[in-house]
């Protein structure tokens, strides 16, 4: 328990914590599911503010790759290779020490918390004081056009509103990189475009190296960045 | 004196008593004042049949008195069958738990006492040390010293007298039978109006014993142990003939019997039967008072007498509160507790004390007890017959089970 806290503290205040934007770097990354290789020797570097898209049919291991990067892979998988943020090797760090933000198809807002509590859950512990935290929350909500939503029940919001809250929650946790697991696919066309723009704008504004996986070419095009195919990487 | 030193003394006394108990505790260990002092602060687990609300309330009252007078905490462990307690003490002995047993005092008599005595599960003799034991009517109430033909030997303290009798609803029954054979004729005339709990329930067993005592060619044989199967068969033959004739006229045509003594009380009140067995001449009055039976209920006994016995309290060998148990046993024999026990308002059970040994004031208290509408006077209750030796009952129960229990 004690060592756990120490590690956390270390992470938040680590000497080489990225005060400036840093790239996400995957080196010779291989992934196996119960001994069966999903992909091997993947090399990929994403620069700060760059949005790279990874395309491929479902079941090809896109989501597993994201889980491997974020550290939430189930124990049935085995990973080899190195994942770096800047010069910092995070390959074996537990997910809470990696500072890698994730967005899924579903918003996954915690149903037992209000909008404000969901956001507060994301804000690092180092931001002390009720007032400071509330200010961050209000600022973020205003930014997203959701002023006054802090005390609302997530279940009463529209799909688009919930999706935006989920993005805010991730950004407030001050991630060093952003992983997007088809976060747009459940939204209808009009909402989708606006939301996409919202996410990309924020990713770029925060100078986050961003990896988007999708099977929708439209999504890929809208990033204006590199588009890779899973099959290209897999050799 | 500090609380700690009292605790230490109690502990030492407990250890000492445990020691002497192991080596056959024959004589009084210390005087009564010492025992009382040691009893203070002890918790007493009294295992007593808990099937009657009235008796439970009486025991609660005893608990209050023991706390006020002696600082003893009484916990009434309600048992369905006293044989459970015998079983538990045996389990403890099996596991080598020779001190700190779970039972400190047990309400007991008959077969259960015989079994505990035989297997060395009892503490004592201790009754001679109890001041109130001197007031017990050992001369006229023979069953206070011989429990079902087994000598008590100071291992259990008499608590109350029981005498087999019958309750009936006078609103429905005009004439009552006067003997076991008249009962047969009566039940032929009024079928389905009578039943008895199936043995080994003590009332059911007592009914069989009562029948055997009246029907046996030579009842004196019943006082000693069964020696030969042939004798058993010839002595009990009239009983089986009798039951074969009686059963078709019983409630449910003798195919089903009430599970317990108390269950037949509900049958009487519901009008399913018209005669109920009882071991307590005063209980009909008490039950009328508490609203459990109709006010038209009365009692009767047989002309030539009915079985009577005494019920006792005993202390298991591995009790950790033997002093408190002795103080409690003594209190139960006190005129105060006995008078309340005799009052049908609270219980209605005949006292074990000899009234003429009591002080004038105490005699006055006993004289003023209102015995109740349904209670027979001592004269009307008639002679008391002695229980047969337990070995008879053991075999009769088995035989009964073989004949009617399947």
């Amino acid at each position: 328990m004690l060592s756990d806290t120490k590690n956390n503290m270390n992470t938040y205040h680590r000497a080489d914590a990225p005060k400036h934007p840093i790239p996400l770097h995957l080196q010779e990354l291989s992934l196996k599911l119960r001994g069966k290789p999903l992909f091997s020797d993947l090399n990929l570097k994403i620069n700060p503010g760059e949005i790279t898209t990874l395309m491929g049919p479902s079941g090809c291991g896109k989501s597993s790759l994201l889980a491997a990067i974020s550290g939430t892979l189930s124990s049935e998988f085995s990973v080899s290779g190195i994942i770096c943020l800047g010069d910092f090797n995070i390959t074996t760090l537990p997910p809470e020490q990696r500072h890698i933000g994730m967005l899924f198809q579903e918003d996954l807002l915690f149903p037992h918390m209000s909008v404000g509590e969901n956001l507060s859950f994301g804000i690092p512990f180092s931001v002390k004081g009720k007032k400071a935290r509330a200010e961050l929350i209000n600022q973020a909500l205003e930014d997203a056009g959701l002023s006054g939503f802090a005390s609302r029940d997530p279940a009463t919001l529209s799909g688009g509103q919930r999706a935006r809250i989920a993005v805010l929650r991730t950004l407030l946790s001050q991630p060093s990189a952003l992983l997007l697991d088809e976060p747009f696919s459940k939204l209808d066309v009009e909402l989708r475009e606006r939301f996409r723009a919202f996410v990309f704008r924020h990713a770029k504004a925060h100078q986050l190296p961003t990896l988007l996986v999708t099977h929708d070419p439209d999504d890929a095009q809208s990033t204006g960045g590199r588009v890779l195919k899973m099959s290209d990487l897999n050799n | 004196m500090t609380r700690k030193s009292i605790g230490l003394m109690t502990l030492a006394a407990g250890l000492f008593c445990g020691l002497v108990a192991q080596t056959g505790w024959a004589q009084a260990s210390g005087n009564w004042t010492d025992i009382k002092a040691q009893a203070e602060g002890q918790t007493l687990y009294w295992n007593a049949w808990g099937g009657s609300e009235r008796i439970n309330n009486y025991i609660s009252w005893v608990g209050k008195e023991l706390w006020n007078q002696h600082g003893i905490t009484l916990k009434h462990v309600k048992v369905t069958d006293t044989a459970d307690v015998v079983s538990r003490v045996l389990a403890e002995k099996t596991a080598g738990k020779d001190s700190n047993g779970s039972v400190d005092l047990v309400w007991i008599n008959g077969e259960n006492f015989a079994s505990m005595k035989k297997n060395g599960l009892l503490f004592g003799p201790f009754t001679q040390n109890l001041p109130n034991y001197a007031l017990v009517d050992v001369d006229n109430k023979a069953t206070t010293t011989v429990d079902f033909m087994v000598p008590v030997g100071g291992l259990e303290a008499p608590w109350g007298m029981a005498k087999f009798n019958f309750m009936y609803d006078s609103a429905r029954v005009k004439s009552t039978p006067n003997s076991i054979s008249e009962l047969l004729a009566w039940s032929e005339k009024y079928p389905s109006s009578f039943t008895y709990p199936s043995p080994p329930d003590f009332l059911g067993s007592t009914f069989l014993k009562q029948a055997l005592l009246e029907l046996a060619a030579d009842p004196t044989i019943l006082r000693t142990k069964v020696r030969k199967t042939a004798i058993f068969e010839s002595i009990t033959a009239p009983l089986w003939t009798y039951l074969d004739k009686l059963h078709p006229n019983l409630w449910r045509s003798g195919t089903q019997f009430p599970v317990s003594s108390a269950a037949q009380q509900q049958l009487l009140d519901d009008g399913e039967v018209n005669i109920q067995l009882s071991f307590n001449p005063g209980s009909a009055s008490s039950l009328i008072k508490s609203g459990e039976l109709s006010s038209s209920v009365r009692t009767f006994v047989f002309e030539k007498g009915t079985i009577g016995n005494t019920h006792f309290v005993a202390i298991p060998y591995n009790s950790s509160s033997k002093e408190a148990a002795m103080v409690a046993a003594d209190f139960l024999m006190s005129p105060k507790a006995q008078a309340r026990k005799q009052d049908p308002e609270y219980w209605g059970d005949d006292t074990v004390l000899a009234i003429d040994k009591l002080s004038a004031a105490d005699q006055e208290i006993f004289a003023s007890i209102e015995l109740g509408v349904a209670t027979l006077s001592p004269q009307e209750l008639g002679p008391t017959l002695l229980e047969p030796h337990p070995s008879w009952m053991e075999r009769i129960e088995k035989e009964w089970l073989k004949r009617y229990g399947q």
Binding site: V79, T91, P94, P124 | N57, S87, V259, Q266, D269, G271
Partner: protein, 588 residues
């Protein structure tokens, strides 16, 4: 420097095990051992108890002079006059209760699944599960006895019964009232287990498919769904069978008496003042175990035969299966069960406030609170004991189950987890077969008649049910919530306490209530582990049931029924209150 070392160390570990997440926490290590520890704590004593019963069954009981092994107790057992009939009683009541309950549950689900009355019945049946068997049996006895409420309500004007009819209804020699009492309790249980199984499988799609192929509801359900979900309800069926074959409290209240069922006979022998009966009792207890094992094997054999024999029938193309008959019978049976339940509950309530109520009055002639007032002290103590033991054992069970399930989530299925089905062993082994032995074991350990032994013995029966009720919601929870929490920077502990558990509040409280209800209902374990020193509402009610004083029995049975009902209301009401502003978790 330290970071460097940490990283290297982690890297090495990462390479060998590949477990990337959450290996830094000390408490995880203890979590890992939870399944094994839980199993040991539970199976050890059961095994020890069985051995302590087995030895006397072969004549080894030194305290009464039995020092060598022999078959004498067995010879005595098989020559005992009451045995054959008692065995027959046990088998008929056990199988009849199980088969009838199963048929009713299947009939009702197949005919009514998806309808409004199905939903309604589902909500009414839940409280029946909550109420202890013995309380229901007592109420039922008050209801159907020849002098019971039903007879009182219709007599003498309709029946002409000035006196209660002279027929054996309760304690009847064929055990019919025992079967009825069991069916009322077990049908809802099997029904709810079936519903749970349906929710997990793709039953609804299959059902829809069969319906679109022209199959009527009952035929569609029995031909297309039952074969799939049967596997999942097998364990509950075995539990019902084992329980019905070895039940003690219900059999004491409703079962036949001359002779009784085997379990009661064994209990009587154990309690016979003649201590030489102990070896006979032990042999009987072992026989009881074989009866249950044999019955379950018979059942399995029956399964094989039925599944073979029904193959051609399944595909013969017939699209209806006595549809209207099944739906009519199953619905009226459900109505009857619910009526019997409500009637039992009401009659207990009425008796508890009665002073005089003679046959054939429809209602008491004199009402009074005396049965409550004069028992206040005892009621208070037995209720507190019931509450304390119930809360302690269910909370401990929740902690152990959550630890096992969390371990499973974090490490994937391990051997310890896979063996967790062994937790059901205490439900399958007859209580009389090992509790006597357990009593000896607890005395040996010096923990008899203590809170420890009583809570632990309740835990044996509480834990399986808590596990049964919590495992599915726990396993089905979307792990991405915890994943998100972690990637937002929360430690595993924080993610567990702030995200995992609050989101599971409803199933957690429900499992707690089930555990509590199971604990409240325990009769024999309380008797044995408590050394008689602990009286709970159930031991009081069952002991009183023999006394025939319906007014006091009513008080105890009512409280005994109310406590679990309150627990369930709290389990439903609390999340509704806590999440009153959280629509997706409100539930009601």
């Amino acid at each position: 420097m330290r970071d460097q070392a940490h990283t290297n160390q982690s890297l090495n570990r990462g390479r060998t095990t590949g477990v990337l997440c959450s290996d830094a926490l000390g408490w995880l290590f203890s979590l890992r051992s939870m399944p094994v520890l839980t199993l040991l704590a539970f199976l050890g004593p059961v095994l020890a108890g069985l051995v302590s019963t087995l030895l006397p069954a072969f004549g080894y009981l030194p305290v009464i002079g039995g020092e060598e092994l022999s078959f004498k107790p067995w010879a005595e057992l098989f020559s005992h006059p009451a045995l054959p009939h008692a065995l027959l009683n046990t088998l008929t009541s056990g199988f009849a209760a199980t088969i009838i309950s199963l048929i009713l549950a299947i009939g009702f689900v197949s005919a009514w699944q998806g309808t409004k009355s199905f939903q309604r019945v589902r909500t009414i049946l839940a409280p029946i599960l909550a109420i202890p068997h013995s309380a229901l049996a007592i109420g039922l006895a008050f209801l159907i006895a020849p002098s019971g409420w039903i007879a009182r309500l219709i007599s003498p004007w309709a029946t002409g019964w000035e006196m209660p009819p002279d027929v054996a209804i309760i304690h009847d020699p064929n055990g019919l009232s025992l079967i009825l009492g069991l069916v009322i309790k077990e049908t809802p249980y099997l029904l709810l287990m079936m519903i749970a199984a349906l929710d997990q499988s793709e039953a609804n799609q299959r059902l829809c498919l069969a319906r679109t192929l022209g199959y009527k509801p009952v035929a569609a359900w029995i031909k297309a769904v039952l074969p799939i979900i049967y596997r999942q309800i097998r364990l509950p069926i075995f539990a019902v069978l084992a329980f019905s074959l070895s039940v003690v409290d219900v059999a004491l209240i409703l079962g036949p008496t001359t002779p009784p069922t085997l379990s009661i006979l064994v209990l009587r022998w154990f309690y016979d003042p003649d201590l030489s009966y102990r070896t006979l009792a032990a042999a009987g207890a072992v026989l009881q175990l074989f009866v249950v094992i044999g019955a379950i094997s018979m059942w399995c054999l029956g399964e094989v035969v039925i599944s073979k024999a029904s193959k051609p029938w399944l595909i013969n193309g017939r699209r209806d299966l006595y549809e209207s008959l099944v739906s009519a019978i199953s619905k009226s049976a459900m109505k009857l069960i619910i009526t019997a339940f409500l009637g039992s509950f009401t009659v207990i309530l009425v008796w508890s406030f009665t002073r005089r109520w003679r046959y054939p009055d429809a209602l008491p002639s004199v009402w009074s609170t005396q049965s409550w007032g004069s028992n206040l002290y005892n009621l208070f103590w037995s209720s507190s004991t019931t509450l304390a033991v119930g809360l302690a054992s269910s909370v401990i069970a929740i902690i152990l189950v959550v630890a096992c399930l969390e371990n499973e989530k974090r490490r994937g299925k391990s051997a310890g987890t896979g063996a967790l089905w062994l937790l059901y062993v205490p439900l399958m082994i007859p209580q009389v077969s090992f509790l006597f032995g357990v009593q000896i074991v607890t005395i040996r350990l010096g923990i008899d008649s203590s809170w420890l032994s009583i809570i632990w013995s309740h835990l044996l029966f509480v834990l399986p049910y808590v596990f049964l009720s919590l495992s599915d919601p726990y396993r089905c929870q979307d792990d991405r919530y915890v994943g998100i929490a972690l990637s937002l920077g929360a430690s595993p502990a924080r993610a567990f306490w702030r995200v995992r558990l609050p989101m599971l509040l409803r199933p957690l409280l429900f499992a707690l209530a089930i555990g509590f209800a199971v604990s409240v209902a325990q009769y024999l374990p309380t008797l044995f582990a408590g050394g008689g020193r602990f009286s709970t509402l159930t031991t009081e009610a069952v002991n009183m049931a023999a006394s025939g004083n319906r007014r006091v029995i009513g008080v105890y049975a009512l409280l005994q029924a109310l406590l679990p009902l309150l627990a369930f209301s709290a389990a439903l009401g609390l999340p509704a209150f806590v999440f009153r502003n959280r629509r997706s978790l409100r539930g009601i």
